[in-house]
Amino acid sequence: MNQMDAVQQRLLQEVADLHDIPEGAYNLRANGVSVGRQTTAHIDIQSKADGSGIDIRVKAGTKNESVHIPVVLSESGLKETVYNDFYIEEDCDVLIVAGCGIHNCGEQDSQHDGVHRFFIGKNAKIRYVEKHYGSGEGEGQRILNPVTEVYMEENATAEMEMVQIKGVDSTQRTTLAKLDAGAKLVVRERLMTHNQQQALSIYKVELNGDGSSADVVSRSVARDQSYQKFDACILGNAACSGHTECDSIIMDQGRILAVPSLEANSVDAALVHEAAIGKIAGEQLIKLMTLGLTEAEAEEQIINGFLK
């Protein structure tokens, strides 16, 4: 932490709510190098031999522990791809906080592509929080292309919260998941784009075991001239249940393409998709104005609530 400057510390606060060194295991990466790491008796973090990323191993039965692996970039023109693998053994219950903050004041693009693979053992449970944030006045773009792969064994549970509210110019998020019997995946994505920003969010979830379930819900706001694409496909290959929902507010000249899709390959698969895109309802603004807010304040409250 001591090696991080004020800009990096602010980024860290935005993406991981960290004001200080986190409790438990962590690996902090700044401008392409690890600047701090701690392991615990139950959670090990090792650099990959080829230096392309880290392996995080959580021993069987580990409960109520956390792993923080935030990344910050404050150097203009830095481009990196990092591969992080999480091996969560049986019967664990852990919190994993990832996320990336980019501050780009320069002319060149800064880019971080994080590839996270999760191997979640039987009956293990993870909660995964990933926040993206960008800042800086430079002409250079702030680009994030995260790939998340989730492999879930019997009765494993993963709750994933993906948040990108501010400052990322271009993002393509790809999430792939494969679920064995009884496994449960819950995804909550919150996204807001401004100016000329582009955000693509792609999900492919395979429900391969009986009793597996997935609930993938995205709430997003597209402002100014920004563009979003939400493309979620759930495949039901067994007696499973899947639900995907995209709920969006569109403003200014924003554009949104929602492509929810379902593929049932088993007669016992129960799959549902929903998608709704619309501007803020006039009556919502009027209601809050009758409570004393200006139109701009009302708009802000509605968006804050929607993305909460």
Binding site: T290, I302, G305
Partner: protein
């Protein structure tokens, strides 16, 4: 005091301009409980919206405590102490009951303060405080939360647009209780309720009958209610119009 002077509101219907409110004059005295009734399509709800600033008058003047508010925005009027409860309460994805009560109060209400407003409208606070104001709430629940937001604003003039619309009989009985409480509360408020319901008319200080965009008659409850009872504008929720 609220004064409506020569108020006219026109709207375009099928390419033609129709006067919904026609040269209407009305005075509402402070701290009175006034029920506005009249036939459907007579302009009652429009009048309520004109008072709150949700619709703009075509001509005429609205004075509130002597000040001309005709050109003032919804927000300005709200800040002057005018509250408005919608006939169809608005739903919000993501905003909770507590969020809305805090916005209404204009300050960071504590949970226990917010719960008090919910208790006043007969809702068990702990069940509702963190609920989202979305489709999971029934019409009666929404209506009561709507009223709670008006109470939380601590308004001087509260306008309720057909509070009985879209609720069942059980909720209606609760609603009457809320209005009776509002009527008898120590807090001095001016209350205007748009309603056809006999039981709401029955707790009025004054009744105003509006038809064809004009005041057809007005007076104390004892003067007006006997004349209109049993008509479509003084209905009994249990029996319907007779």
């Amino acid at each position: 005091m609220l004064e409506l002077k020569s108020l006219t509101f026109s709207a375009e219907t099928d390419g033609q301009s129709v006067d919904i409110i026609r040269n209407l004059n009305l005075e509402i005295q402070d701290h009175q409980f006034v029920v506005i009734t009249g036939p459907n399509g007579g302009g009652k709800s429009t009048l309520a919206k004109l008072i709150a600033g949700i619709e703009s008058v075509t001509s005429g003047q609205i004075l509130y405590n002597g000040e001309d508010i005709t050109e003032k925005s919804i927000t300005d009027r709200a800040k002057m102490g005018i509250g408005f409860a919608f006939q169809q309460p608005v739903r919000f994805k993501g905003l909770t009951v507590l969020d809305l009560l805090r916005i209404a109060a204009g300050k960071k209400l504590t949970v226990s303060e917010a719960c008090q407003y919910l208790s006043e409208v007969g809702l068990c606070a702990k069940d509702y405080i963190s609920r989202e104001i979305n489709a999971s709430l029934s019409g009666g629940e929404l209506k009561r939360i709507e009223i709670a937001t008006v109470l939380a604003r601590d308004v001087e003039l509260a306008v309720f647009d057909e509070p009985e619309a879209g609720i069942d009989l059980w909720s209606f009985n609760n609603l009457i209780r809320i209005f009776e409480k509002l009527r008898n509360s120590d807090k001095k408020r001016t209350v205007i309720v748009i309603s056809h319901q006999e039981r709401i008319l029955n707790i009025a200080d004054r009744i105003v009958v509006i038809a064809d965009g004009q005041v057809m008659k007005q007076g104390t409850k004892d003067e007006i209610l006997p004349e209109i009872i049993g008509t479509t504008y003084a209905q009994n929720m249990c029996r319907g119009a007779e």
